[in-house]
Structures are given as structure tokens and as C-alpha cells.
């Protein structure tokens, strides 16, 4: 009887949460389809997708996202691997550092970046290329909590130390261990981190806005100020992209269990 009551409460809260999430979503979707008076149409989407500024800003953010993901993976995988192998006591400190982007407001961080890098000796705001370097570094920091956690969970699932020692005893050097053993066994963790990192960059507003780069976030705000239906269409497109990313994580995670094994000491 008690279990049944708990079950009912569980359903109640699940449905309440879904309504809380889906009613505004449905409202946005419905509104985005009513650009043509009295008719349901995709006109708002057509207008957004036909806008060369949208495509340029989307392309820019997508490229930045890919660069951010690549550099993040190359930084975080060897770093976390090294922490697990040689500096396990440093892990809590690194973990705290990685959550700093959640503690320090992005606006404060951006002002810090501009103040530090707009003058010598590291002047990175003079040309678009240099600013792109700065914005990429900013994106890496902002996506750090997600990337760190994804790889950290992946590292925990495999016995990094024993696998490393096994590879060493077979004659592998550090480079071979990293690329033959560690990276392939972190495939799913890296993919999860990469997709969340990519979604973060695609939707990021403040860095793009204050460093005056043609990113998707500032474009969406700009459209929102001057138009009514297109921002709703953009919001739906943005959600869809995020869901595709989450769907891909789920899809690839399913195959992971077949290649995982316990290597506890």
C-alpha cells in the first residue's frame, strides 16, 4: 500500500516536471509557427535559415565548438590521466578548479579576460584571429566542468594504473599507452564531454558579445530585440541541436558496455 502511494507520488511529480518543461516549449513552438496570420507555417524557420547572418554565425560557432572540443580533449585527457597515475592527491584540488566557471560569473570572467589581454604583453584583441584565440581559450574554460567530469567518470570506469602498467610491461612508451590504450577506452566519455562542450559553445552569449565576434548567441539576442517570431524559431532550433547532441551521447553510450571490463586491483 505504501509502495503504491509512493509510486503515485512519483508519477505525479514526473508529470508535473514534464508539464513545467513542455508547456513553455509547446508555447514557443506554437508561436514560432504563427508568423503568417491565421495559418500554421514554417515561415519563421525559413526566414531564419535564409538569413546569411544566421548561417555565418552558426558556422562560426560550430567551428569554434569543434576547435574547443579538440583542444579540450588534448588538454584534459592527458592531464586527468596523469592525475590518476601520478598525482591522485591532486584530484580534489583540480576538481575544485574545474568548477570555478560555475562560481565566477561569466561577465566577471570576460571583463578579466579583456582587461588582461587587451594590452601588452599578451595583446589578443587587436585582430579577429587573435580574438578568436582568446574566445577559444574562454570557451575551453567555460566548458571545463563538463569536459572534466565526463573524462573523470570514464577514467574511473577503467583501471588506468593497471592498464598502463600492462602496456608498459609489453614495451609501450607513454605516447603509445595514451593513443593505443587510454584514448580508445575513453571513447564514450570523450564523446559525451565533447557533445556537451559543443552544445555549450553553440549557445554561449557573453564571450561572443563582449569580444565582438559573430557567434550564434549574440545573433540570437540581436534577432530577439528586433523581431517577434524568428527568436522563437531560433530557440526551437537551439533546443533541437542540444537534444540531438544528448541523443547521440545516449546512442553511443549503449554500445559501450560491450567493450568495458572490470579491472579492479
Amino acid at each position: 500500500m505504501k509502495g503504491k502511494r509512493l509510486n503515485l507520488w512519483g508519477w505525479f511529480w514526473a508529470i508535473a516536471a514534464m508539464l513545467y518543461f513542455f508547456i513553455p516549449m509547446y508555447g514557443t513552438l506554437d508561436f514560432s509557427l504563427r508568423m503568417k496570420k491565421g495559418v500554421i507555417s514554417l515561415l519563421a524557420y525559413e526566414t531564419v535559415l535564409a538569413d546569411p547572418q544566421f548561417l555565418a554565425s552558426f558556422r562560426y560557432s560550430a567551428i569554434m565548438g569543434l576547435i574547443t572540443v579538440t583542444i579540450s580533449v588534448l588538454i584534459f585527457v592527458p592531464t586527468i590521466y596523469w592525475i590518476y597515475l601520478r598525482l591522485p592527491k591532486a584530484r580534489p584540488i583540480v576538481e575544485i578548479i574545474t568548477i570555478l566557471p560555475f562560481i565566477i560569473p561569466v561577465i566577471v570572467y570576460v571583463f578579466g579576460l579583456i582587461r588582461t589581454f587587451s594590452g601588452p604583453p599578451f595583446q589578443l584583441t587587436l585582430t579577429p584571429f587573435k580574438t578568436d584565440i582568446l574566445i577559444t581559450a574562454g570557451y575551453i574554460v567555460l566548458s571545463m566542468p563538463y569536459m572534466f567530469r565526463a573524462i573523470d567518470v570514464g577514467m574511473r570506469a577503467i583501471d588506468v594504473r593497471t592498464l598502463t602498467e600492462a602496456a608498459q610491461s609489453l614495451g609501450s612508451n607513454s605516447f603509445q599507452i595514451l593513443f593505443d590504450v587510454i584514448f580508445p577506452n575513453l571513447r564514450i566519455a570523450i564523446l559525451s564531454g565533447a557533445l556537451i562542450c559543443f552544445a555549450t559553445v553553440i549557445g554561449e552569449l557573453i564571450l561572443g558579445d563582449f569580444l565582438v565576434r559573430p557567434a550564434l548567441g549574440p545573433y540570437m539576442v540581436l534577432v530577439g530585440r528586433s523581431r517577434a517570431y524568428e527568436p522563437a524559431a531560433l530557440a526551437i532550433i537551439s533546443y533541437t541541436l542540444t537534444w540531438i547532441c544528448l541523443g547521440l551521447i545516449q546512442f553511443f553510450s549503449r554500445g559501450g558496455s560491450t567493450q568495458q571490463q572490470l579491472t579492479g586491483r
Partner: protein, 348 residues
């Protein structure tokens, strides 16, 4: 000159001594077991041979080459881990061939060696499988093949059977010995299981608290333990606190009952103990042997063996007898006479 020589090896972790003055010479093709309880330094010593730990002092020589500070990937030493440590992203064949691939061998040579190894471990049909699709015993066989495939000079096994169930453990134990003898590879085997060490090894190194207690053949270790620790750790033993009556003849007394020890050195000090294995004791009285009388305390069934615990002068003595159908089992509290030959006991 020994094939593998460990001289005055010392290892400390943050001031705590893990291994102390470890000296051992291993001949080529020999099977040596490091036996001891948890924390005795056996795995640390093995890891120093593998290169995963560096000795605080001392020297490790392998075939006249100084290995002491050589990185693990330059030592040509194969290692099998307790947790198998197979690479989950590689198939069985890829795992076995990985050492050869790293060494830059040709694909044809790798394939041929992988097939040889698969045949050696009787897993010819499993080359294309991933480790997660194998049982624990099969995974450990693959780990063994992987450690042997690249022709290492020494094979190290760190409690390789601990994670397996009892039946598989016995099967794989024979398999390891067969392969080791077939290939004639020098092997160091770490275990805390005395039965494993006794059944596998040419020689056993018994360790306690970072030090070697005794090195010897399984028979020497079991029948002639040199310290109380070895006597207690390997097999079951009765240790009786006795008083020396005649130091020259090895005559001792337990309460009001006298006995003679077969082996005894220079007897001095008060803490003399008479040691005798439970299987050396028999019920009854034999003229000219050591004979004791006590009361039956407990009867324990151990399958093929029945252990009778007898209280003699306030000390428990265990006696192992074969569980034969005709055996008359004494009742608890019953007066019981037991006997053992003089040469079956010794003083520690």
C-alpha cells in the same frame, strides 16, 4: 652467476620500510613463488623487478644487465596481473599481439606468434572476441599468452588466480606450470595461498614484514620450517610451550608429560616450543615414541580429513586422521591418547 639476482633490495614508502635487505638468486628456468600474508612486501618486490617501483637501495641484475633503474618498457619482463588487465578495446588476438606490434614486428610474424599462443592456451577459436566476452579463467589465460608472446626473459605473475573460483584456480594452476615448463621461462609468482606455492614452485620465498623468513623447496619449507612464522604460515602446526629437561638429548616437558624432539639446536632461553604437524599425530600408544594423554575438545570434519582437537595439559593439540568409514570417532570430553614419532617433531 644467477640469471636473476636481487641484491640487498630495500624499499621504503614515506619512511615505512616495505622490503628490507632482500637477497635472492634465481636460476634460468626456475619457478619461484613469493609467499606471505598481505603487506609482507611480496608484491612490492615483484613490482621492483617489473620496474613499476624503484628500490630505495640495492641492485637487480637480469642476465648480467643492471635493471635497477631501467624503465618498465625497456626490461623485457612479462607481467600477469590479478585483475587480468586486458585492453578492453582490443580483441584477444590484438591483446596477445600488442607487445610484438609495439616492438615493430611484421604483421605476418605477429599473426603466426598469436596463433602459437592461442594454441598454447587452448583458445584457438577465441582470437576475434573481446575480453568482456570471456570468462575470468579465459581472460587470465589470454593475459598469460599476452605476457609470453613477446619472448620476455622473465615472467612475473601477481596473484593471478586470486580473482577466480576454486575449481578454475586449480585448473589454471596446472596450466601455468605446464606452460612454464614447456617454455622453460624463469618465473616469479606472488601468492598468499600456500597450496598454490607448494604445488607450483621449484623454490618458495616465504616473506613476513618485508623480510625473507626462509627460502627453500616446497618440501624444505613444509617439513623443515626454520622459523615459527614459516611453521605457522605454511600448513597447520601444533606449537606447544615446553620446558627443557635435558638440553643435550632434546627432552622436554609439557605439564607432567615428557617428550623428545627429533631436531633441536642449542637450547637456551625460556620460550621453547615443540612443533609437530597434525598429520604426524596418531591415536593410541607406541612404545619408544612420544605419547601424550588428554581430553577430546572438538571434532571438525574437513571432508577427507577429520581434525580431532585434544586438550593436553591445558593446551590444544590438533590431530588429523583420514575420514575412513571404519574410523571410530571419539566423543567430546573422552580421555584420549595420542602418539607421534620423535623424528616428527622439532624445537623452535
Amino acid at each position: 652467476m644467477a640469471f636473476l639476482e636481487l641484491s640487498h633490495i630495500q624499499k621504503s614508502f614515506a619512511g615505512a620500510v616495505a622490503v628490507e635487505d632482500f637477497n635472492l638468486s634465481v636460476a634460468q628456468g626456475e619457478f619461484i613463488s613469493f609467499l606471505g600474508p598481505s603487506g609482507c612486501g611480496k608484491t612490492t618486490t615483484l613490482r621492483m623487478i617489473a620496474g613499476f617501483e624503484l628500490p630505495t637501495s640495492g641492485q637487480i641484475m637480469l642476465s648480467d644487465n643492471d635493471l635497477t633503474y631501467l624503465p618498465p618498457n625497456k626490461r623485457n619482463v612479462g607481467m600477469v596481473f590479478q585483475s587480468y588487465a586486458l585492453f578492453p578495446n582490443m580483441t584477444v588476438a590484438e591483446n596477445i599481439g600488442y607487445g610484438l606490434k609495439v616492438a615493430g614486428k611484421l604483421k605476418a610474424e605477429i599473426n603466426q606468434r598469436v596463433q602459437e599462443m592461442l594454441a598454447l592456451i587452448h583458445l584457438e577459436e577465441f582470437g576475434a572476441r573481446y575480453p568482456a566476452r570471456l570468462s575470468g579463467g579465459q581472460q587470465q589465460r589470454v593475459a598469460l599468452a599476452r605476457a609470453l608472446a613477446f619472448h620476455p626473459q622473465v615472467l612475473l605473475l601477481d596473484e593471478p588466480l586470486s580473482a577466480l573460483d576454486a575449481k578454475i584456480r586449480v585448473e589454471l594452476r596446472h596450466e601455468i606450470r605446464r606452460i612454464q615448463q614447456q617454455l622453460g621461462i624463469t618465473t616469479i609468482y606472488v601468492t598468499h595461498d600456500q597450496e598454490e606455492a607448494l604445488s607450483l614452485s621449484d623454490r618458495i620465498v616465504v616473506m613476513s614484514q618485508g623480510k625473507i623468513e626462509q627460502v627453500g623447496t616446497p618440501s624444505e619449507i613444509y617439513n623443515f620450517p626454520s622459523t615459527e612464522f614459516v611453521a605457522k604460515f605454511v600448513g597447520q602446526i601444533n606449537l606447544l610451550p615446553v620446558q627443557v629437561i635435558d638440553a643435550k638429548k632434546g627432552v622436554v616437558r609439557l605439564g607432567g608429560q615428557t617428550m623428545r624432539a627429533g631436531q633441536f639446536g642449542h637450547l637456551n632461553g625460556n620460550s621453547i616450543r615443540l612443533a609437530v604437524r597434525p598429520e604426524e599425530l596418531n591415536p593410541g600408544f607406541v612404545e619408544g615414541a612420544n605419547n601424550l594423554t588428554g581430553k577430546v575438545e572438538a571434532i571438525t570434519y574437513l571432508g577427507s580429513i577429520i581434525r580431532i582437537s585434544v586438550d593436553v595439559e591445558g593446551y590444544p593439540i590438533h590431530l588429523d586422521v583420514f575420514n575412513e568409514r571404519k574410523l571410530k570417532i571419539p566423543a567430546t570430553g573422552e580421555s584420549y591418547q595420542l602418539t607421534f614419532p620423535i623424528e616428527a617433531c622439532w624445537l623452535l
